[in-house]
Symmetry: C2
Subunit: 348 residues, 2 copies
């Protein structure tokens, strides 16, 4: 896992949903301190942020969002505020970790450097065309197994790295309510490419991507009605991930899941019950997943920008008649392509 990571190629983007980020920054200090950090404050959060000194931090607030973008149909409140950070970053890569997550420990007791692991995931090839049963073939001590075609062993570029979570796993509110005392303790020491054509639920809790390439599809599109501030309220990252996966599949890029883990703080089961009463997310995915699984983007869409424009049109045509939230998602997708062109597309 040795790899040169330049400070100048990575921004760390943190969505501040709580004012006091002191213990968060202190815990991440060994891994974050040499990088530029973009903190985007939830536009609905009133209290002043507390961020310890010793970091290269730039904080963006509601007035920055309003000032830069003016009137926009995209709602940047709650967890969605981080996407504003993706827009104003000028780095090749972005890493984003929720503000209720701390560094995890591996089974040997070593603290996990999530930054380096994400960068290893992004900078080593992905293998979407055939599953390797020993997982990441480029990892030290591993290789391609017997039967793996030699013509596929160079792999393709990896654009998205989705890390995982120990302790409080990323469940929906129903599962949180039912299994309120269950904690994830299983550290699975593997990174794998999600195969071509296979869809998976991307969590925005602990994620990294190639901003230069994937930026036009890293938007907050799907917002369910009466969405709150908890992860379990949201599907914006799941939707985002499905869009990113179909586009990576269409353009021949790879997407990985597995390491690194972060340690998530405790869920509040009572509050999950509150969310559940009106949670639209229970049924939405039953429409969303078949839509993405049967989707085929045209061969003439050869950039991420081409693909997302085509995808927004298909969402409007096929999904929007079922539920107004999909119509709003299509609006947000089209709006994002414009915002990205004006504000996001400049690179360092």
């Amino acid at each position: 896992m040795s790899l040169e990571v330049q400070d100048s190629e990575v921004d760390i983007v943190i969505a501040a949903l709580q004012p006091n980020l002191t213990s968060f920054f202190q815990a991440w200090q060994p891994f974050f301190s040499r990088f530029d950090i973009i903190v985007v404050k939830d536009p609905e959060l009133a209290a002043d942020l507390q961020i310890p000194s010793g970091f290269n931090v730039k904080v963006y607030t509601k007035s920055d969002i309003d000032g830069l973008l003016g009137a926009t149909s995209i709602n940047f409140s709650g967890h969605s505020c981080r996407y504003f950070g993706y827009l104003v970053s000028r780095k090749k890569y972005v890493i984003s970790i929720d503000d209720n997550c701390l560094p995890a420990k591996d089974p040997a007791g070593m603290t996990v450097d999530a930054v380096t692991q994400h960068m290893v995931n992004l900078k080593t090839p992905a293998t979407p065309f055939f599953f390797n049963t020993l997982y990441d073939p480029y990892r030290k001590g591993a290789d391609f197994v017997r039967g793996y075609p030699f013509s596929l062993r160079e792999g393709v570029e990896c654009m998205l790295s989705c890390g995982l979570w120990l302790h409080n796993a990323d469940y929906d509110p129903m599962t949180h309510v039912v299994k309120r005392n269950q904690r994830n303790t299983n550290y699975v020491d593997a990174v794998m490419t999600v195969p071509l054509g296979a869809m998976f639920p991307v969590s925005g809790i602990n994620v990294a991507f190639n901003r230069e390439v994937l930026g036009p599809v890293m938007f907050p599109g799907l917002r369910i009605r009466k969405e709150g501030k908890h992860r379990w309220d949201t599907l914006e990252d799941i939707w985002n991930g499905l869009c990113a996966k179909v586009i990576c599949d269409s353009l021949g890029y790879g997407v990985k899941t597995g390491l690194p883990y972060v340690m998530r703080s405790d869920a509040e089961a009572g509050k999950a019950l509150e969310s559940l009463k009106e949670w639209e997310g229970v049924k939405v995915m039953d429409d969303v997943l078949p839509f993405f699984e049967s989707l085929k983007l045209s061969r003439t869409a050869v950039t991420v920008d081409d693909c997302i424009k085509e995808l927004a049109g298909i969402v409007r045509q096929k999904l929007a008649p079922k539920n107004a939230i999909f119509s709003k998602a299509a609006d947000a997708m089209e709006e994002w392509t414009k915002l990205w062109k004006s504000h996001g597309a400049q690179n360092a």
Copy 2:
């Protein structure tokens, strides 16, 4: 991982490629002794088998194969002899482990019960329609993550369980020669369903399956020219696995990979070099994988038997013109459906 496994529902099938199975059986005694064991002796192996007492073993030899089947176009020599055991078994499930494998230890130092883990894999549902980022959602302490559609949480029946290998990994002869000192030490504590449409290289080293359902597709079809007695010489299991995967995908069944591990004894690097000189396997997979990835079986093929007959026809039409080994594979596939009907299809 607690689960009731009936002695009467499982056969363990061992291909004897070496005469002295004493240490193999002794090592597996805690896990094998209560089950019926079918040992099939490589028809080209001359020396008498040594098997310790205390096991319910039935040994099949060349004369049993010839006596039951008469003239057949299927070549049961080498690793392929185990498939005769699949044919004569009358149990619902079969587990097969290579005779150079011993029980592995997990990271906590506990000896792995590969039999029970395979049966857990087969008896708990598989989830081929969406990837669960926390891997097996039915495992103790795990669940479906946020975004996983509730309509898919019942899963489907798992028909094939492919275990892995510590120490001497299952590489092709080229990789064995290049990395002669590399040993796999990474115990990845996970079981996962291979997603719908994703192909993967099934290794026959450590495998279990539902014989009643999948039997008609568990055949030795592909035999490369000048194939020897080493695993690295063979692609019969890889071909078999690709056939099984497309058929499971077509019929809505699941296939899993991951746990259990077994410990494989050392490779003999010098011999890998000998195999390599004439190893046809280097290029064969570059034709085989695209064939399987683009394959679509018809909706009217609703049983494994229907599917394998259709598949054999497509192999003959599309692949056989490229290489005579595919024509022989199609012969073997058609022959196997007949053998299975006459000899394999009876259940206990």
